[in-house]
Structure formats: C-alpha cells, structure tokens
Symmetry: C2
Subunit: 136 residues, 2 copies
DNA sequence: CTACTTGCAAAAGGTTTGCAACCGG
DNA sequence: CCGGTTGCAAACCTTTTGCAAGTAG
C-alpha cells in the first residue's frame, strides 16, 4: 500500500482531497510502465471496464482537469476536436500519424531546437512543442 | 476580374465547381495582404456581416474542408476543441497565447530545428510544426 | 458539521448529416 | 438534363453546468 499512500500524498500536496475516485484514477494513470496517451473517452472505458467501481463521466472530466492543472498530466496538441492527454509531463514531442491518427512520443533528445523566437512584448515562453506529421 | 478568373481556375484545377459561394469564400480568404488565422465561426461572421449574400454555415464547413483537402488552407494545432485554419500553407510556426487564446505566426527563420528524429519504419515525415505557448 | 466532491441529467458548443431544392456545365 | 452543391434543421459528439446527495477532515 505504499503506492497508494504515495498517491494520497501527491493529491494532498496539490490541495486535492484524496477521494475514492481520484485515487482510483491516479492509480490507473500514474502507476504505469510507460507513457499513456488518452482521451477522456478512452480513460472512461478503461476505468469502468470491470463491472465493479464506476466513476461517472463528469467526475472523470473534473479529475483530468484537476490533474492537468496540478501538473500531473499534459494536454497534447492535435487538430482533432477532442482533447488528448499524456501522462508524460516532461517536455517532449510527438509524431502524429495522419493515416492512423495515432500519437507517439518522440524521445526528447531526438529533436533539437537551436533557435527560439523572441516572444511578443510583455509575454514569455511557457513551453513549446513540436508535432511531426508522418504518413506512408 | 482577373483575380476572379484566377480563383475560378484555381477551383477548377482541384475539381471544385466554381459556385457562387466557393468563389466568395475564396476571394475572401485568398486575396489578402497577410496571413489570416480563423475558425469557422469567425469566417462565417466575416462573410455574412454585410446584409447581402449569405452563405450557410454548413456550406462554410464544407468549403473550408474542401479547401483544406485541396491544400489551400492548413489546419492549425491547438488544444482547444475548435478547428483553427491558416491561409498561410507554407511550413511555419505559431505562438499560442494562453491568456487571449490568440494565434500568431512566427517568422519561419526565427525557429530552427537542427535535429529531426527518424520516423518509424515505413513512414516518412510530411511536415512539422512548432507551437510555442506564451503567457504574461 | 462544513466545505469540497460526486453523479446525474440537462444544456451547451462545435461539427456533421439527411434530404429536398438549386444550379453549373 | 445530370450530378454536384447548397441550405436548413435535426442529429451528433464531446464537454460543461446546476444542483441535490454524499463524504473527507
């Protein structure tokens, strides 16, 4: 139950009450071997596939948003009218396969920007992301 | 009327019948001094602002999609659940202002990638795009 | 107890679709 | 004329919201 306690602490740290639903989602999302790319729809299926504990869609939306604000998830840029999230929050980039519409991580050091633009006055750069479109 | 003929030819070239609506939209989109970033909603307001010729929303959606397929428009990546298009189809990058949700072009040579990843087997890179998120 | 959360269902916002009327070639 | 195109309204899909009931501290 160390993992569970770790998650509870993580939630508390961000001012999120460790409710049953949040813990369940956090376990599902953050205890994984590799990066997970998902839409709310996909996550909902994953969470509710076993006939047991159900988490309502609204709560999944709320929670994903809360996790994103807390910095535990990252929203991915796509051209689709659906939100994609990534459990890998480190700055990294993606391949977007136009044929299969799949996203794949690109190892961070495989892309190098050696020139960044000056932001408009009064603004500063928060992050940047490269999407590389691929096809057959 | 040279401009108009040019547009009619452009449409025909792509197998698009030069209808009144398509010509109107093409004139509005392609005869501009500078790049235009828009959503369908914005374009619809622009097109229908003078009480005269109205183009229905569905037709605007159809036409924007057709123009995109024909390569006359480019879809822009954002995290919002709304499609953004750009009349600048050359490879270029964007600032995405998280406060105002505005997109701005970044001059092409202000960003330089000096390392691109190898695409997965059997795929090749079609294009890449950098989005730089800025905030106050 | 109190404030924060959840879940449901309804509403909203953007996009797509079915189909009859219309029009370009 | 014929087949592509338009316009309308309804349908769709994802996301948000209001609110009563539930729960963590």
């Amino acid at each position: 139950m160390n993992q569970k306690n770790g998650i509870i602490n993580k939630l508390r740290t961000s001012g999120l009450r460790p409710t049953k639903q949040r813990i369940l989602l956090a376990q599902n999302l953050f205890i994984r071997n590799k990066t997970f790319h998902f839409t709310v729809e996909k996550l909902e299926k994953e969470i509710n596939k076993n006939g047991n504990e159900k988490v309502s869609l609204a709560t999944i939306y709320n929670t994903v948003e809360a996790f994103t604000k807390a910095g535990y998830l990252k929203e991915i840029l796509t051209s689709k009218n659906k939100s994609y999230y990534d459990t890998n929050i480190k700055s990294h980039h993606h391949f977007y396969d136009e044929t299969t519409k799949e996203l794949t991580d690109i190892n961070y050091n495989q892309v190098k920007l050696n020139k960044l633009p000056t932001p408009p006055k009064g603004k500063k750069i928060k992050s940047f992301e490269v999407v590389i479109r691929i096809q057959k």
